[in-house]
Symmetry: C2
Subunit: 244 residues, 2 copies
């Protein structure tokens, strides 16, 4: 028995997130179908994270166990043949049998893209939030530092979130601009449901003066979802890096 | 009566090209619907070019005649409110009543994007042709110079093309690379049906040795469609510039 770990990339536009669901197409299901064609059997594939409907992945990891003696490079080529154009396998390597793509992860980085041009860019419709009022990326970068550290992020998660431990350690947060595109990058040992999207919605509220500069530490401490901003839409969000 | 000229931009993925057709959604139809909402009547809108199904426009011009005394800036804002996210109006200006977006055009520039990475990029699925064999952009740039000048391009147009005069003057052609993306840019006073896509398909044949370097002038002169390459797919093609 070998455990293979695949690094993949996907455009989440057409998918209801990673995890298999009834009556909705997910990345996991489509990946399992391709695996079945290549490996000749229905194998359980494990992902590194649940992602929401419409969320993208620049880097995502999937593992499966097989007895097949297939070269890693050939597994990549074969899977890409059977996967649709919006999912790509980038690499494959063998890992030890106690490796788990989700639980072996040290930290993850998400990036949220905001297109800050006055007029929307039709080519970014599914790839960045369009926000036409000028973003003050320097202010938002300073404010975002309040997220860094170990905090109970209950106030930054959706009611759907049923985990018991809501403390997460944010290693780094950064807001920066490249021309009309503003990026929010955040690294943590884990993320609660909708956590990054609520962080982004809260930063937008700060930009609009609906939340005052300096108030973020208190809002985090309050554990009160209603004091944070709205949940930003999924199509600007990318799982960007997974570190093992 | 005033003639307004709109500069627009669109992602052609969801459309069967510009021109209104039975049983297929086109950019013209969707634009006319938005115009009807803003101007209160069904107006004839004229485009600068027919574009094929799936082809994009970084820059496209549309005109209409109206008696309405609407400020140009407000017309832009209002149309963007009623247009879907994959079509944007960038600007509007009044032009003289003898201006025609198609016939007043001095020249147009198209660009064709080829993603030349070994593994496909899921985010470029609808925005660039994926071609995994290494492209020799310097060779192709030299070869593409054969397109420049006034030529009868009958051999580089589809049978659907029923125009009488098939001579077009190509002002410039260029192949260049930025990392894994290779661009073919071509400027001409006009283009026959599928002309750019057949030029690209022919360059790919040169890259593959199916057409020898140096043969292009003879292939153009032959006026024989079967000697040129395949018609490259539409999703890599962008109308990039229209000069009046």
């Amino acid at each position: 028995m070998r455990r293979l770990l695949f690094k993949i990339q996907y455009d989440g536009t057409a998918y209801h997130g990673w995890q298999v669901q009834q009556n909705a197409v997910t990345v996991q299901e489509v990946f399992q179908n391709a695996v079945e064609k290549v490996f000749g059997e229905r194998l359980d594939v494990k992902g590194c994270s649940r992602t929401d409907s419409g969320v993208h992945a620049n880097e995502y990891y999937v593992s499966l166990d097989t007895d097949m003696d297939i070269a890693e490079k050939n597994a990549v080529l074969a899977l890409n043949t059977y996967l649709p154009d919006d999912i790509s396998v980038i690499a494959c390597r063998e890992v030890s049998l106690d490796f788990h793509p989700r639980y072996s992860c040290k930290y993850k980085q998400y990036v949220y893209k905001i297109y800050n041009g006055e007029i929307r860019n039709p080519f970014l419709k599914s790839y960045a939030l369009h926000y036409k009022w000028r973003l003050d990326e320097e202010l938002l970068n300073r404010e975002a530092q309040a997220f860094v550290g170990s905090h109970d992020f209950s106030g930054f998660s959706s009611v759907k979130c049923d985990v018991e431990d809501t403390v997460r350690c944010v290693k780094a947060a950064r807001v920066y601009r490249e021309n009309d595109m503003v990026y929010f990058e955040v690294e943590a040992d884990g993320f609660l449901y909708n956590m990054v999207r609520i962080m982004v919605g809260t930063l937008l509220f700060i930009n609009e003066g609906k939340i005052k500069a300096g108030e973020l530490p208190e809002i985090i401490e309050s554990l009160d979802r209603t004091r944070a901003g709205k949940t930003a839409p999924p199509h600007g969000l990318y799982l960007n890096k997974v570190v093992y």
